[in-house]
Subunit: 128 residues, 2 copies
DNA sequence: TGATTATGCCTACAAATGTAGTCATTAAGG
DNA sequence: CCTTAATGACTACATTTGTAGGCATAATCA
């Protein structure tokens, strides 16, 4: 998993990562264009966030003419895995059931979700 | 859920909340004593965190002589529910299965966990 | 070909966070 | 009684985060 374990990505930075996880590489203005629907951010703000993410090692750059194209160095999957595990360890002593129980509250789990989880559990039992 | 929805609790603050979720009300020095095993924090640091948590509305105080006793105003459960849902929405579009899948990786789910989840799902199916 | 735009680099600045220090007061111990 | 320890109130200061602004340069449009 490399050094990705210790990188801290802030909320706003995560919004930028999301764009690049969906599509990459992209230049700053293209990232801005994607974000425009969701966020009311100045292009400079986005450039700052991009620069910070590069500095942190979360993004790589490649030159294209006189600009940079940005790509994720850590996958959404590995980031999500880390964040999930941190939450689970921090709040539930590493146990999954209470976590899912919380999701289930307030109609958080649909029938489809439940079916999907059952399939997942069945698969886990076969493997393990 | 009251106003607890908008309270942001930082990492260090959460360590303090954890102590008071386990036992409360407690005075500052008692909180410090509990934390001493895990954290190498000056008592002043803990007092600052307690004050910030009171300011944020996460803790209440009651006077006992010339000192304060602190108690959580938001339960661990409701905090955990909010944090879980935020993570789930943010990273998995609100769907539980991918989240559990991440927990399952790296032997994250024990046989007991799986059994517990199955029981939980069965229960949900009955209710829903 | 001069004004406008887009880019990268550097700088800014307030709020939040991590981590304490100072001070005045008071309770407690010798 | 005087010293010491504990407490709350206020202050401090570096780092991270949110959210840009300014400047020099290159590309582009009129």
């Amino acid at each position: 998993m490399g050094q990705s374990g210790k990188i801290r990505i802030s909320q706003s930075e995560l919004d930028v990562m999301d764009v690049l996880w969906t599509q990459s590489p992209l230049g700053a203005s293209e990232v801005a264009q994607e974000l425009a629907t969701r966020k009311d951010w100045n292009i400079r703000t986005i450039k700052t966030l991009l620069a910070r993410l590069v500095e942190k090692g979360a993004l790589s750059t490649q030159s294209e003419g006189r600009r940079y194209l940005y790509s994720p160095l850590i996958s959404k999957d590995s980031y999500a895995a880390g964040a999930t595990r941190r939450l689970s360890d921090r709040l539930f002593g590493g146990r999954a059931a209470p976590l899912v129980m919380h999701l289930a509250k307030d109609d958080g789990l649909s029938h489809d979700d439940i079916a999907e989880l059952e399939a997942l559990l069945a698969e886990l039992k076969n493997k393990g």
